[in-house]
């Protein structure tokens, strides 16, 4: 039990530490990498809590997502390396206050709430994966299918939004230059 608490705390501290680095470094590429490490630490917390399938899924998903995010950072930022030391923040005091209040309220609830009996034993990894598969293709199939359709819709919508709009004026300009 203490070993589990130790590893959950260590990975939790790593997730928090890298989460702070995301908004503290001036290099946006470093921010993306710090977020990758933070999310990986969250995945490791899942593994320490004996949720193997979700832990591995989290690490794999976030590795891909954050790599893409780093590429977008380099594409879109005026100063991706942070060499200019630009300040990219606004309403700092309000944001710090909102963050502290949000975290504080959640911590108070965590300590004060009566969570009821806590279960010591978790099902083993193979049993968990099997039961989750049965859940996905049984009782929760509609939710699972809806999630899939939502991702597909988002992919199509994102591609449609990103494609440049061909207006008549644009086409005329192109023809003129040719």
């Amino acid at each position: 039990m203490y070993a589990q608490a130790f590893f959950v705390a260590v990975f939790g501290l790593a997730a928090i530490g890298f989460g702070v680095v995301v908004f503290r470094t001036s290099s946006m590429v470093r921010s993306a990498l710090a977020l990758l490490f933070s999310q990986t630490a969250v995945g490791c917390m899942f593994l320490a809590m004996q949720t193997e399938f979700l832990g591995v899924l989290q690490i794999m998903m976030m590795a891909t997502e954050m790599s893409i995010m780093a590429i977008f950072m380099v594409m879109f930022m005026m100063d991706p390396g942070g060499m200019g030391g630009m300040d990219m923040t606004h309403q700092k005091r309000f944001s710090i206050g909102a963050g502290v209040v949000a975290a504080g309220v959640a911590i108070v609830v965590a300590f004060w709430a009566d969570w009821g009996p806590v279960t010591a034993e978790a099902p083993d990894a193979a049993m968990q994966t099997r039961a989750l598969g049965m859940e996905l293709l049984g009782r929760s199939m509609l939710i699972f299918e809806t999630a899939g359709i939502t991702i597909l819709t988002a992919m199509i919508a994102a591609t449609a939004v990103a494609i440049p709009v061909q207006t008549t004026a644009n086409s005329a300009d192109k023809e003129d230059t040719e």
């Binding site: 039990m1 589990q4 959950v8 705390a9 939790g12 501290l13 928090i16 989460g19 995301v22 908004f23 946006m28 921010s31 993306a32 933070s38 969250v42 917390m45 899942f46 809590m49 949720t51 979700l54 998903m61 997502e65 893409i68 995010m69 977008f72 950072m73 879109f76 930022m77 005026m78 990219m88 923040t89 606004h90 710090i96 909102a98 963050g99 949000a102 975290a103 959640a106 911590i107 965590a110 969570w115 806590v118 279960t119 010591a120 978790a122 968990q128 049965m134 859940e135 996905l136 009782r139 929760s140 939710i143 999630a147 991702i151 988002a154 992919m155 919508a157 994102a158 939004v161 990103a162």
Partner: protein, 103 residues
Amino acid sequence: MTLVLIVALVTGAILFGIGVYGALSQTNLVMIMMGVELILAGALVNLVAFWRFLHPESYSGQMFVLVVMTVMAVEMAVGFGVAIARFRAKGSVEMEEAGDLKG
């Protein structure tokens, strides 16, 4: 065992707070999305802790985690689509220059 649950819940709460700070304080669209990712990561930690320590017999908790992961992926896809469109139109994804979106 309650100790592990409390450690996980406090970690989730702090990640949530850092995410709220990031989403509100950053001026760049991609950095705001990073804040939202941290908020969702805090929610994920709580959901996994609740499943593991309070209801490991019911797999609806793990299903909920998968739904939140879907939300993360959708947020990234739509956010980057909007970022590309904005960058094409205005040459920047700075949100302080996006006052014209107010309507």
